[in-house]
């Protein structure tokens, strides 16, 4: 067992980057990600880590620098939030087809407008389809762990894809939590040095970033799609190896009291812990309610999701972003697609809750479950609403 210490989650994330022996770190300050890079700059300044650390003039360049360094063979790291992610989004789409396993932490935060620095998932949903492997973390320990897991997975030669570790801004990034640190020796065994197949080097010239005519583009895109879809066994394998090392076994879909539940709450990110308190309260009153949490957002674990939800009558989805003018929140759309082909499928009610960091307490989860049950019983099949709006 490693040492268990109280630590701000951003600092734990930075420690994980140090322990991953990252070669190049490039970032631009944006709240609430700043603590991660501030701490990394201290680590480098104190000589505790041998890396090239520099602050660039924008998030667009932050990721572009990582693209250059990763292609040259250096393990690279950046992190961002919100507007910063929106600015760098052009490059996020370019990284996966280049097969560069960069790791990025996203301190999830609201996209403007109105300008707001608080937490929701509207930033990451804007790049949902960019092709990175995307994890959502529920607590600080998961954030710390997934830095190692992300590098090990991304750099696997069967995968070679970039990885986003989502942590809720402020709710996680600025909170002090108990973190079990892993010994460096173990990390070194779990995460071998980055050994890319092709790098930019004059001794073996390669061309990277060629353009594709319509006659070959679809094939290139299909190849990318095949790689990310077929990475699921590898994702499970890496989690298994990590579990064997630490005792913390992760799953793409986590459940809590879901086996016999008629109604399932569905969350992603730090809401999971609060929702589980609500589930306990409802269970005490004899209500068959359970919880399903999505940890792996891309590639979407369709099989695991269907398995986790197939016995439920109702799913109450808690979305953290609005798909304006669309079918509801992005998670609900995804979930509806996932179960559409099933013979017996649960009814789905979608709440967009806690946008821009508005507090959602256990009692809110209970209210949402009650509301959804009433609506569904009354025959509302398209249930979707933004929760808690003062009208």
């Amino acid at each position: 067992m490693g040492k268990r210490v109280g630590m701000e989650v951003s600092i734990a994330a930075a420690e994980a980057v140090r322990q991953s022996k990252v070669d190049v770190i490039s970032a631009y300050p944006i709240t609430p990600q700043t603590h991660v890079v501030e701490h990394l700059s201290e680590i480098v300044a104190n000589g505790e880590m041998d890396a090239e650390f520099f602050c660039v003039e924008s998030e667009h360049s932050a990721l572009s620098v990582c693209v250059g360094s990763e292609a040259t063979g250096a393990r690279s790291f950046t992190c961002t939030s919100s507007q910063g992610l929106a600015l760098m989004s052009e490059i996020t789409y370019i990284v996966p087809p280049l097969r560069l396993p960069i790791l990025m932490i996203l301190s999830n935060r609201t996209l403007s407008a109105p300008l707001s620095i608080w937490n929701d998932h509207s930033d990451v949903m804007s790049i949902r389809d960019c092709g990175w492997i995307q994890y959502f973390c529920e607590n600080g320990q998961e954030v710390y762990d997934h830095v190692f897991i992300g590098y090990r997975l991304g750099e696997d030669r069967d995968v070679l894809l970039p990885v986003i570790v989502n942590m809720d801004g402020f709710t996680l990034s600025h909170v002090i939590e108990p973190i079990e640190l892993i010994d460096q020796e173990k990390i070194d065994k779990f995460l071998p040095p980055y050994a890319p197949i092709y790098t930019l080097h004059p001794d073996r010239p390669v061309t990277m970033g060629a353009f594709a005519l319509p006659s070959i583009f679809a094939e290139a895109k299909k190849a990318q799609e095949v790689v990310i879809r077929s990475s699921i066994p590898k994702i499970l394998e890496v989690w298994k190896a990590f579990g064997d090392m630490t005792g913390r076994y992760y799953q793409p879909i986590e459940t809590y009291k879901a086996e016999d539940a008629e109604t399932l709450l569905l969350t992603m990110g730090s809401f999971g812990e609060t929702a589980s308190v609500a589930v306990d309260t409802m269970r005490e009153k004899g209500k068959p309610v359970g919880l399903v949490k999505i940890r792996l957002w891309r590639p979407f674990p369709f099989d695991a999701f269907k398995e986790a939800t197939r016995r439920a009558k109702r799913i109450v989805v808690i979305d953290r972003a609005v798909s304006v003018g669309g079918p509801g929140g992005p998670v609900a759309s995804e979930v509806k697609s996932a179960v559409y082909g099933e013979e017996s499928r649960p009814m789905i009610y979608d709440f967009v809750a806690g946008i821009s960091g508005r507090d959602v307490s256990p009692s809110d989860f209970i209210k949402m479950v009650e509301k959804a049950e009433i609506e569904i019983n009354e025959g509302n099949k398209e249930g979707y609403e933004i929760y808690g709006v003062r009208e």
Partner: protein, 312 residues
């Protein structure tokens, strides 16, 4: 009699025969930009990692699965070449320091057109120059967005007709003056800035070699004649490059550690018309307009010479 011109002809033959950009690429006839890139690579040699912005040089050279590059070459996007090259340079530094790759001199080269430099790539370039990465940034300036169909950039000269600065009843081509990128680069207090033109190949090569030898960032702004966009004959590209220099449209100079000096100087500049008359993009300009442009060019040239004479 040995003249400068003869000497250049002689000197070109002493250049390496090695081509780091393979023939068979898809550049237009008479493209001086591809010539410039070829010469830049000849000057640096094979120990280079080259990053190109989206643009003509990328499109003509890399239709998947083909490539014209015999050196490691990387294209990511339009506006971020300086940032990508920063990443390459940093990776080389840290990987050599950590002993992950053998120590040797590898030049990091960034290349972008005028749009990718003076317009959309300006921020990334400024950031890279300010951070002091050891790299050469080459702007191959053909004075408009040629790859997308001749749209104006901030590097398009005053009066030039493009598809977005057209000639109409109310407007006679580009209504703004060419952005002085070399001066902007020099304002970052980097060790080496130069202007060059492939019509003066030896001068261009010497400058690239100097840039490669310098510790820290260097910037070379290369005028690249574009027959397609300039509406000129392909066989005139070399001549037009020379005329741009000799008329004062594109003076050749260096800024070494902040000190200006002229690479070529002319007691008297040739009339602007000798340069513009070969180009369809200036066809509409009246003598009055030309005189107005010439006046400003001469003033700028005088100012540049004064800087070179005082050295600052």
């Amino acid at each position: 009699m040995i003249t400068t011109e003869n000497l250049n002809v002689f000197a070109v033959r002493t250049l390496t025969q090695k081509e780091h950009m393979a023939p068979g690429h898809r550049a237009c006839q008479g493209c001086a930009e591809v010539l410039a890139v070829r010469l830049v690579l000849k000057a640096i040699g094979r120990n280079v990692i080259m990053c190109s912005a989206t643009g003509c040089m990328e499109i003509i050279s890399s239709p998947l699965p083909f490539t014209a590059w015999r050196v490691p070459w990387f294209h990511v996007a339009f506006e971020n070449t300086a940032a990508v090259a920063s990443g390459v340079e940093s990776a080389l530094k840290v990987l050599m320091r950590k002993g992950k790759i053998p120590r040797k001199k590898i030049v990091t080269l960034a290349q972008a057109g005028d749009g990718g430099t003076a317009d959309i790539g300006m921020q990334a370039l400024s950031g890279a120059l300010e951070r002091g990465h050891n790299m050469i940034y080459v702007c191959t300036d053909n004075e408009a967005y040629m790859n997308t169909g001749i749209q104006r950039s901030s590097s398009t000269p005053f009066g030039a007709s493009t598809t977005t600065s057209p000639v109409g009843k109310a407007q006679m081509g580009q209504i703004t003056w060419k952005k002085n990128m070399a001066a902007i680069a020099a304002a970052h207090n980097i060790p080496y800035v130069a202007t060059a033109c492939p019509s003066y190949p030896i001068d261009l090569i010497e400058k690239v070699k100097k840039a490669a030898a310098v510790e820290g960032p260097s910037y070379i702004h290369i005028l690249s004649v574009c027959p397609t966009g300039w509406r000129s004959l392909p066989e005139l590209s070399i001549k037009l490059g020379r005329l741009a220099v000799e008329t004062g449209v594109f003076p050749l100079y260096e800024v070494e550690n902040g000190r200006y000096h002229m690479s070529l100087d002319f007691p008297e500049l040739r009339p602007l018309k000798e340069y513009t008359k070969w180009q369809g993009r200036f066809r509409h300009l009246t003598d009055d307009k030309l005189a107005e442009i010439e006046k400003r060019l001469h003033e700028e040239y005088k100012h540049l010479k004064a800087r070179a004479e005082t050295g600052i």
